[in-house]
């Protein structure tokens, strides 16, 4: 089992793996309250990527990862372009939560991108 020590590296590798085999890849979260451990796994049954943590700080990034995976899984086609569009969308939403006024201005400016058909 390959444990990746850096969360960002795990996220990037996991996203790439999903884009390369969208039909087979699954994303898993394992939580043990008793041991205060959280394990993330992305695998297509050939390649297995894992990340483990006991830190609360990672939850925010993991929440974004959840959003990314869920949206990409529902998308009509899974490509790098779709993934990038989703990442941009998530970043916009993050900004909306942190600084609503500034983010609203930038969203209005970009015109709200939608997925390609």
């Amino acid at each position: 089992m390959v444990y990746i020590s850096n969360l960002e590296s795990f996220v990037e590798a996991g996203q790439q793996l999903f884009i390369s085999s969208p039909g087979k890849t699954r994303y898993l979260v394992k939580y043990r309250h008793v041991d205060a451990k959280l394990v993330l796994k992305v695998t297509d049954d050939k390649v297995c990527l894992k990340y483990k943590t006991d830190r609360q700080d990672d939850l925010k990034r993991i929440d974004r990862l959840n959003a990314f995976f869920m949206r990409l899984m529902c998308a009509e086609t899974v490509t790098s372009e779709t993934a990038q569009a989703i990442e941009a969308l998530i970043q916009e939403e993050d900004m909306m939560q942190v600084a609503p006024k500034a983010a609203a201005a930038s969203v209005a400016h970009s015109g709200g991108k939608k997925k390609k058909k």
């Binding site: 394992k30 959280l38 609360q56 925010k60 959840n66 869920m70 899984m73 529902c74 899974v78």
Partner: protein, 121 residues
């Protein structure tokens, strides 16, 4: 439990309680899982892309033919799952995030302490 002689559609609708739930029912069940995991065990939440294909008897397995996100939550032998459609993702993911962040409070809160404070010149 439904008998094997029933047609596929009836079998699907007969699965209540544990198993395939609506999005809201799933989130409620997940909350229960989170309160139970505090005592013991591991909670597994799995996400997978689900592209509906026609069932064996030609009965469609879901309303639309659009890809959906299959979300499963398993604690011990109790497994629940739900299908999330693209239009529901934002709402579902928001609720899921709230549930996860609220319940995963067993994790450590690391405070960054500067051991050596450099004196300002």
């Amino acid at each position: 439990r439904a008998s094997p002689s029933l047609p596929a559609a009836a079998l699907l609708s007969a699965t209540v309680g544990m198993g395939r739930l609506s999005n809201d029912a799933f989130l409620a069940g997940l909350d229960k899982h989170f309160s139970n995991v505090r005592k013991a065990g591991s909670l597994f939440i799995t996400f997978k892309r689900y592209v509906p294909t026609p069932g064996k008897f030609g009965v469609p397995k879901s309303d639309t033919a659009e890809p959906m996100c299959l979300v499963r939550a398993k604690l011990g032998s109790k497994a629940i799952s739900t299908l999330v459609h693209e239009k529901d993702v934002t709402r579902f993911q928001g609720s899921l995030g709230t549930t996860m962040k609220g319940n995963m409070d067993g994790l450590k809160q690391v405070e960054k302490k500067k051991k050596e404070r450099k004196a300002k010149p």
